[in-house]
């Protein structure tokens, strides 16, 4: 076996091993894959509070603000009026506001919605399936999805009107 040949084999083997190392470290650190801006928003269908259901992909052509919340979460409660105001302002500009409640009973959700005075559609994720699908950790988490179903921003923070306004600009068709 020539020197060159041996060199080539060694480089190949070391390359494979190095790739294994990088992969191992990577998969131990990023144990949970996350959705990030630029990814396609996974499609889903959920029952709506008060009847009917919404399928995300049916909303293509419109911008979507997808807000995940629970009635036990104080920052969620605090940002609801801000979302509502923006909803009222832009509901005719080709954007849809959707609240996704995480796993609560319709009665609880209804009480809460009345309390905070929200009028945009609220979806019930009773099985927390969509919550898992969207890798929701702390709430409130809000996804901004453009008309082509691509995620433009993910905010894990209590929203203010200014923040919503700024992100909305990117998804308005």
């Amino acid at each position: 076996m020539g020197k060159q040949n041996r060199m080539f084999i060694r480089v190949a083997i070391l390359g494979v091993l190095l790739a294994a190392l990088v992969f191992a470290v990577y998969s131990s650190l990023a144990s949970d894959s996350v959705l990030k801006a630029g990814d396609a928003a996974p499609n889903f269908q959920l029952e709506q509070l008060g009847g009917g259901s919404i399928t995300l992909n049916d909303l293509r052509g419109k911008g979507v603000v997808l807000n995940f919340w629970g009635s036990w979460c104080k920052p969620c409660e605090a940002e609801m009026p801000e979302l509502e105001k923006q909803y009222q302002k832009h509901k005719d500009d080709g954007v849809v506001f959707i609240g996704v409640n995480i796993g609560q009973t319709p009665v609880t959700v209804e009480t809460f919605v009345k309390q905070v005075g929200v009028t945009f559609p609220i979806l019930l994720d009773r099985e927390r399936e969509i919550t898992k699908l969207y890798k929701i950790g702390p709430i409130p988490t809000t996804y901004f999805i453009d008309k082509d179903g691509k995620i433009t921003d993910i905010l894990v923070v209590q929203l203010t009107e200014e923040m919503i306004e700024e992100k909305l600009a990117k998804i308005m068709p």
Partner: protein, 557 residues
Amino acid sequence: MADQRKCECGHTNPVGTVLCEFCGKPVEENGDRAFPSMRYEGMARRSQTHNKTLVDHVWNFFSSVKIAIILIVITLIAAAVGTIFPQQRYIPVPVSGESGVAAFYKDTYGMLGEIYYLLGFHKLYSSWWFVTLLVMIGMSLVICSLDRIVPLYKALSKPRVNPHLSFLKGQRLRGECEPGSDFAADETLAQAAAILKKKGYRIYREGSTLLGEKARFSRWGPYVNHIGLILFLLGVLLRGLPGMYLDEFIWVREGQTVAVPETPYYLKNVEYKTEYYREDEFPEQLDLENRLIPKNFQTDAVLYVNENADLPGAEPKLREVKSGSITVNNPFVYEDLYLYQASNQEMQLAALNFTLIDKQAGNKELGRVKLDLYEPEQEQVVAEGITVRVISYFPDFYMDESGQPATRTSQPNNPMFAVEVRSAQDGAAEKMIYVSGRIIPESEGGRYTLQIEMPDFTDITGLMVRKDKMLPLIYFGSFVVMVGLVMGFYWQHRRIWLHLEQGRLYLAGHTNKNWFGLKREAEFLVEQLALPMSLVLDSKSKNSAAENKTKEEEKPT
């Protein structure tokens, strides 16, 4: 420096060769130094030949057994450090968030705990440096094996039947004698061959030299074992690929059907039960002070596949695929999905029960009201013309800072209901609140009230959801490891040479372990042949000193 070296027998050997490939004479001018190492039968190891480029440096680094040992020892120490305090996943109390974890280590173990946390030792086994250590051990395994398998194969595939005299004289076990002039060489060697054959040796003969060899395959043991370890580590590594490994947990109430996360399946908990040993089942009287010993934790479950799974969240279309019970040590298996009985919450509040009382009709019982804590009905008809409507429900009730009712979690730990009783006859509507085991009417002097009855309880089962597609590879790797270990440790490669040269008969023996066993066999041979020969078995310490010495020289320069 030349790449090859010429032996006095005329054969040219690669650099790094210790014993001539052809005749077995020590290649380097040993002078009166000790006999060189027999490892790899004196063949050149690949990593020793060149050492020029970066690739060669890296290669040689990982091909060194010394480095392998250092890696093993570092891993060992690191692994021990990780057990000083519990790892994050084994924290015995519930903690929330990163700050909760930090607080746990600080409060429970003081300053040491704080340092432990800050150094990241609470997640030591998934830390980048520990994973790197494990992968480096894997790299060392691969490169060490590759580096040694080829020369060992070369050496073992052609046994050195007729070695140089200095080779025989240099063995740890040896003997020689002058058998005398009436000695029938051929006859003796044939007799020796028969004896050795009976002992399970394979016989090679060349002129006046005889070689008996046994259990050569055991030399492959370490490599087989290392290949098994490589397969094992490969299996572990590949679990990181998406879809290979699933680790989820679900809580399911009795009667409830829930989605099994990341799969198209739904699971129904038909019944959960805990069984305890009866006193008469104890083999011996025990002083348990009224404690019970659990006998069985069991969930009877039905697994469904959701044929509508392509669209998450859509109304599921369920088809039953399997039903059965899940107990500890007996997981529920369907294709590659495994469900394990892992936890339980028994006697949890499921529904509140009331009797609706008409105070004006002399506390007449109108009917039963059931408020399900998980799926409360919006409205229920209690009696002719009388309905109870749920206005609001806070499963884990508390009053927030602004005096508003709120819920702390979505679990029914402290349920609060506001309900409205409506009567069709008089059109009256009365509101009342249930909280903390009491009924509070909105205004005094109402007509209706709710009398609290025994609530419904339910058992909740906690199931682990697992998929591990790499398990077969991991088990196979373990199996190969065992095969290699047994090959290498329970058999020994033994060789015995008999060599007649210039009227003297030489015996030499070599093995990789159990010299006493080899010596016993050689002694038996000498005794059977009635040879006037006494055998010498060199002390190991002397030999090991020599091995250390050659080892020093083996180091790449």
